[in-house]
């Protein structure tokens, strides 16, 4: 799965949790979930759970701790996908 494909999946996952539609439209690696997309921190958990379901991965607590930006989230997803494949 390419980085762009992961970003597209993320965009779909994040849509219900943000009202910042233009920031979501222009989502890129450095987009910050809280600062740019104004996502409520209680909904970050929903995003983590949605990602687990969508990508069929398990996100441990240390990985979740980093998931504040799109970039960090892609890195976590890629690492977990690789671990699953290997």
């Amino acid at each position: 799965m390419t980085e762009q494909q992961i970003i597209e999946e993320l965009k779909t996952i994040i849509t219900p949790y943000t009202e910042e539609k233009s920031a979501l439209e222009n989502i890129e690696a450095h987009t910050d979930f809280i600062k740019d997309l104004k996502i409520n921190s209680a909904n970050l958990v929903d995003i983590v759970l949605d990602i687990e379901e969508k990508f069929n991965i398990t996100i441990d607590n240390d990985s979740m701790a980093k998931m504040l930006t799109v970039k960090a989230t892609i890195e976590v997803i890629e690492t977990k996908l690789q671990a699953n494949a290997g």
Partner: protein, 190 residues
């Protein structure tokens, strides 16, 4: 140092479904989950504990200059709880934070401090949340001014003068709370 967090209970009900599979275990320790599941009002307990963690995180974030999303690392114990208030302790490794929560039918507001005692001259200002809330604060609170610094972080200073006071701001849904310490000044540089 101060932190605060407000939860709009009506909005939380719509925004979050904590009964969702695996939701609780991502945020709450075993002990905290036990508190929730055995509580008379589990919904309320979820948001009391959450607002304790969030207000404590604000202090952690400013002390450590580190952002993270690690609610499990903030371990809560409830010291006193009734239908109006909750007092608690939040620990994250060596950091110990005291919390005091006000419980109302439509919101929970938690104040956190890493001092051994709560500041004696803590001022709490509440209003409906608006983008330009600073104007209303400055009109109503004589002798102090709130503004955003160049990092876009709210600061309060005593006027006239340049002395800054420790402050924390939280809003959720229609609710806004600003808390500041009218006694202790803040010398932290940004």
């Amino acid at each position: 140092m101060l932190g605060n967090d407000i939860v709009d209970l009506n909005l939380a009900k719509i925004q979050s479904n904590w009964r969702r599979k695996n939701y609780l275990s991502k945020i709450f320790t075993e002990d905290e989950q036990q508190l929730i599941l055995s509580a008379e009002n589990p919904d309320l307990m979820v948001w009391v504990l959450w607002s304790m963690k969030e207000s404590a995180y604000k202090i952690y974030n400013r002390k450590m200059h580190e952002r993270c999303f690690n609610p499990l690392a903030f371990q809560c114990s409830i010291l006193l709880l009734n239908n109006k208030i909750a007092n608690g302790l939040v620990k994250n490794h060596a950091l110990k934070i005291l919390t005091a929560s006000e419980i109302k039918t439509d919101f929970i507001h938690t104040i956190a401090t890493d001092d051994i005692l709560f500041p004696k001259k803590l001022r709490v200002w509440g209003n409906e949340y608006r983008l330009n809330y600073q104007d209303a604060f400055n009109k109503e609170i004589a002798g102090y001014q709130i503004y955003k610094n160049k990092s876009n972080i709210p600061e309060v200073k005593k006027i006239p003068g340049k002395i800054r006071h420790d402050v924390s701001v939280s809003h959720h849904g229609g609710h806004l709370r600003v808390i500041f310490d009218a006694e202790h000044t803040n010398t932290e540089q940004h």
